[in-house]
C-alpha cells in the first residue's frame, strides 16, 4: 500500500527531470508522498528509491534528517507552537501548556481521535508576530490561549477545511516549466562550455 499514485508519479517524473542528478529530487518527492498519505510510509520510500535510482536506505537516510517528515501517522492537524526566544518572551510556554491541557496530550502526542498533534517548534520567521504557531504550516499570529481554543474548535468543526488541508499538503500551486521555454540540460549545461552570453557583448 501507499506507493505513489500514477498521477503523483507523473508529477514526480516532471520534478526529477529538472535536476542534473535525480537524487536532488528526493526531498520534493518525499513531500509528495507525505501529501498523498499524511506521513512517509516504507512503501513510498521504496517507490521513491526506484524513481530516483538510489536504495531505500538512502531515502530513509535523507528523510530521517528532516523534521517535517513523519514516519508514523500523525494528527490530521499538526499544531507547531514556536518556543524560540521572541515567542518565549511573549508567552509561548503558556500557550504550549494551554494546548497540552486543552487537548489532554503532551508535546509530541496525538489525540486518540487522530485529529490533533502538538509539537514544540523552533523559530518560524514570524518573530515580530509572537507568540505564533502553524497548523499544517499555515500561520496564526499573536495567539492567546482563548484564540487557541477557538482555533481548535474551528478545526474540529471543519470550518477551516479550505484554508488548512490535512497534514502533508504543502504548497497547492506547483511550478510548471513549459517544454518550449525550458533550457533543461541543453547547452549551457555542457561541461566546460562557456555560456554564449559571456562573449563580451550585450545579450540584447
Amino acid at each position: 500500500m501507499s506507493r505513489l499514485t500514477d498521477a503523483n508519479v507523473a508529477i514526480a517524473n516532471e520534478i526529477v527531470a529538472r535536476y542534473p542528478r535525480p537524487k536532488s529530487a528526493l526531498i520534493p518527492l518525499l513531500h509528495i508522498s507525505q501529501e498523498q498519505n499524511g506521513w512517509v510510509t516504507d512503501d513510498a520510500m521504496k517507490h521513491i528509491a526506484e524513481l530516483v535510482g538510489v536504495t531505500p536506505a538512502e531515502v530513509l537516510g535523507t528523510a530521517s534528517f528532516y523534521e517535517m517528515f513523519k514516519f508514523e501517522p500523525v494528527g490530521k492537524y499538526v499544531i507547531n507552537i514556536c518556543g524560540t526566544m521572541s515567542c518565549a518572551l511573549m508567552g509561548a510556554e503558556e500557550l504550549l501548556h494551554h494546548a497540552e491541557h486543552r487537548l489532554g496530550i503532551k508535546v509530541g502526542g496525538t489525540t486518540p481521535d487522530g485529529l490533533f498533534t502538538i509539537e514544540h517548534a523552533e523559530c518560524q520567521a514570524a518573530c515580530t508576530e509572537a507568540p505564533c504557531l502553524q497548523v499544517n504550516y499555515r500561520y496564526r499570529f499573536r495567539m492567546t490561549p482563548s484564540q487557541l481554543d477557538a482555533l481548535i474548535d474551528d478545526l474540529a468543526a471543519g470550518n477551516l477545511a479550505e484554508e488548512i488541508p490535512p497534514h502533508g499538503t504543502l504548497a497547492r500551486v506547483r511550478q510548471h516549466i513549459p517544454a518550449d521555454r525550458a533550457v533543461g540540460a541543453a547547452p549551457p549545461e555542457t561541461p566546460g562550455q562557456e555560456p554564449v552570453w559571456m562573449n563580451g557583448k550585450a545579450a540584447l
Binding site: 526531498i27 528532516y66 518573530c127 559571456m198 540584447l204
Partner: protein
C-alpha cells in the same frame, strides 16, 4: 478603497508590520504596501523587469562590475560583498550554479519570507541579473520547507515569468538563457549554512562540509562552482540595475551602503520589520524611534537585546548608540548577522531567555562534530537545571568549561559600565565545522557575563538545601 493597505498574508495577518511608517528610501520593500504586490501585473506597473532589460543591454562583465562597485553586502549573515564573491569562481569552469538561500530560520530573523511572499518577482529578477552577470547556467531557489505561502507565491510568479518570457530559453529574445528551479526543504535549521544547503539540494542529509576545500565558489553543487546568495541580497539587484551603483552607494555609508531589512521583536511597543538605512541608523533609533518601535512596552526599562540573530552576543543599553555598521559592532563584541533584534525588558528572566536560544541550537545540531553534538546538549541540560532551581555552583563552572571546548579562548561579549567590564571583540576561535556549536554557547556566555547575579540567585536557593541530611533523622 486604498489598494495599498490590504496586505493580508497567511492567515490572520492584520497588524502593521512596520514598513509603512516614515519616509525612508525603499530599495527592497517598495511594493509591500500593495495588496497585489506579488502579481506580475503589479510588478510590471512598478518598474518590474526593467533592471533585467537594462542589464541584458550591457555586456555581462559590465553588470558584474556595477555590482562590485555598489558593494552589495551579503544579507544572509556573513556580510561578504556579492560582486566580490562572484569573482571567486575559477575561470573557465562550467557549468556554474546559483543557489538561492531562502531557508531563513535563524532565531529572530524575519525578512526573506516577506520578500518571497510579497515581492517574488523582484527576487526572480535579482536571480536573473546575478546569473547573467556571473555566467551562472542554472538557478535553484531553495525555500524553507515550512513556508507554504512563500512556496506558492514564488511558484505562481515563476509560472507567470516563464509564460511571459522572462525566465527560460532566450530571455526577452536575447542570447541569455537560464532555468530557475523552485526547490524546498523539510525542516532543518543547519541547512541554511551554505555547504549544508548544497548537500540538501543534492538529496542528502543537510550536514555542512569542511571549508577548505569545499568553498562553494570553487567546489559547490555537483562539484561545480556555485554561488550561494541570500534572498535579500538578490532582491537588491533589480533596483541597483535600474539606478546604478552611484545611486546605491549614495544611501548609507561607504562600507555599508544601501538599506537593510531588520526585524525587531520581543518587548517593544511596535515590533515589526523595517527597511532601514544601512550604516547610519542606530539601535536607539530602531528601538525608540517614532517611525520604528516607539520604545519598550508598558514604559519598562530595557534590560538587554540581541543585535544580530540568535547567534549574536547580547548588547546592553550601554551599546544603544552604535550604528548598524559591522566595523563598529564587531569591536563592541557582537555582530549584525541576519538583521534580527530581540529585545528584553526589565521583567525578563535572563537565564530562562538564554535557555530558549541554547535549546534551539542544541536541537538543531547536525551531529557531525563532537563539541557541538555533545556540548550543545550539555549546555541545554545544565541550563535547564539552573532555570528550574536545581543548579549548583559547579554547574556554572561546567557551563564555561563546555563553552571552552567549543570555543577555546575568550568569547566575545559587550562592555558593561555597571560591572566595569570591557568588551571582548568579535570573532572567536572554534573547534567545530560551522557556527551552530558556538551559537549554542553565545547566549549562555552573554547571560553569564552580563548578568552574573541572576545565576548566583538561582543556585543559592539550591545550596540552602542541606545535602548531608541523613535519612530517618
Amino acid at each position: 478603497m486604498d489598494e495599498r493597505k490590504g496586505c493580508v498574508v497567511s492567515g490572520t495577518y492584520t497588524h502593521a508590520p512596520g514598513f509603512y511608517a516614515g519616509d525612508r528610501p525603499r530599495i527592497v520593500t517598495s511594493r509591500f504596501e500593495y495588496a497585489d504586490s506579488h502579481t506580475i501585473e503589479r510588478y510590471l506597473a512598478t518598474d518590474g523587469y526593467k533592471g533585467l532589460r537594462a542589464s541584458l543591454a550591457r555586456p555581462a562583465a559590465d553588470v558584474h562590475e556595477e555590482v562590485k562597485n555598489a558593494t552589495v553586502l551579503g544579507r544572509g549573515g556573513a556580510g561578504f560583498p556579492a560582486g566580490t564573491k562572484w569573482g571567486l569562481m575559477p575561470a573557465g569552469s562550467f557549468p556554474r550554479y546559483l543557489v538561492v538561500n531562502g531557508d531563513e530560520s535563524e532565531p529572530g530573523t524575519y525578512k526573506d519570507r516577506l520578500l518571497m511572499e510579497r515581492d517574488p518577482h523582484q527576487l526572480i529578477e535579482g536571480c536573473l541579473i546575478a546569473c547573467y552577470a556571473a555566467g551562472l547556467t542554472r538557478c535553484f531557489l531553495y525555500i524553507r520547507g515550512e513556508m507554504v505561502t512563500a512556496q506558492e507565491r514564488v511558484a505562481a510568479a515563476l509560472n507567470e515569468a516563464y509564460a511571459a518570457g522572462y525566465v527560460g530559453r532566450n530571455i526577452l529574445g536575447s542570447s541569455f538563457s537560464v532555468d530557475i528551479v523552485l526547490h524546498w526543504g523539510a525542516g532543518a535549521y543547519v541547512v541554511g549554512e551554505e555547504t549544508a544547503l548544497i548537500e540538501s539540494l543534492e538529496g542528502n542529509r543537510g550536514m555542512p562540509r569542511l571549508k577548505p576545500p569545499y568553498f562553494p565558489a570553487a567546489i559547490g553543487l555537483y562539484g561545480q562552482p556555485t554561488i550561494v546568495n541570500n534572498v535579500e541580497t538578490l532582491a537588491n539587484l533589480p533596483w541597483l540595475a535600474r539606478n546604478g551603483a552611484e545611486a546605491y552607494t549614495a544611501i548609507g555609508t561607504q562600507t555599508s551602503p544601501g538599506t537593510r531589512m531588520v526585524a525587531v521583536s520581543g518587548h517593544v511597543k511596535r515590533p515589526g520589520v523595517y527597511e532601514i538605512v544601512n550604516g547610519t541608523t542606530t539601535f536607539r533609533d530602531l528601538l525608540y524611534g517614532d517611525e520604528f518601535c516607539q520604545g519598550i512596552r508598558n514604559g519598562n526599562k530595557l534590560k538587554a537585546f540581541v543585535p544580530g540573530g540568535g547567534s549574536a552576543p547580547w548588547f546592553l543599553p550601554d551599546q544603544l548608540d552604535l550604528p548598524f555598521e559591522a566595523s563598529q559592532v564587531g569591536p563592541a563584541g557582537s555582530m549584525l548577522g541576519s538583521g534580527a533584534i530581540m529585545v528584553m525588558d526589565e521583567t525578563t528572566d535572563i537565564p530562562h531567555a538564554a535557555l530558549t536560544l541554547t535549546r534551539f541550537y542544541a536541537h538543531e545540531s547536525c551531529g557531525k562534530c563532537t563539541p557541538c553534538r555533545e556540548g550543545g546538549t550539555w549546555l541545554e541540560r545544565i541550563l535547564t537545571r539552573i532555570v528550574e532551581g536545581d543548579g549548583t555552583d559547579a554547574d556554572l563552572e561546567q557551563l564555561v568549561e563546555v563553552g571552552k571546548s567549543i570555543c577555546p579562548g575568550d568569547f566575545p561579549h559587550a562592555a558593561s559600565e555597571r560591572l566595569g567590564l570591557a568588551a571582548v571583540p568579535f570573532p572567536y576561535k572554534m573547534t567545530t565545522i560551522c557556527f551552530v556549536g558556538p551559537s549554542a554557547y553565545a547566549p549562555v556566555n552573554s547571560a553569564l557575563t552580563l548578568f552574573p547575579e541572576e545565576f548566583a540567585a538561582r543556585v543559592t536557593r539550591r545550596n540552602r538545601i542541606p545535602v548531608t541530611a541523613v535519612a530517618g533523622e
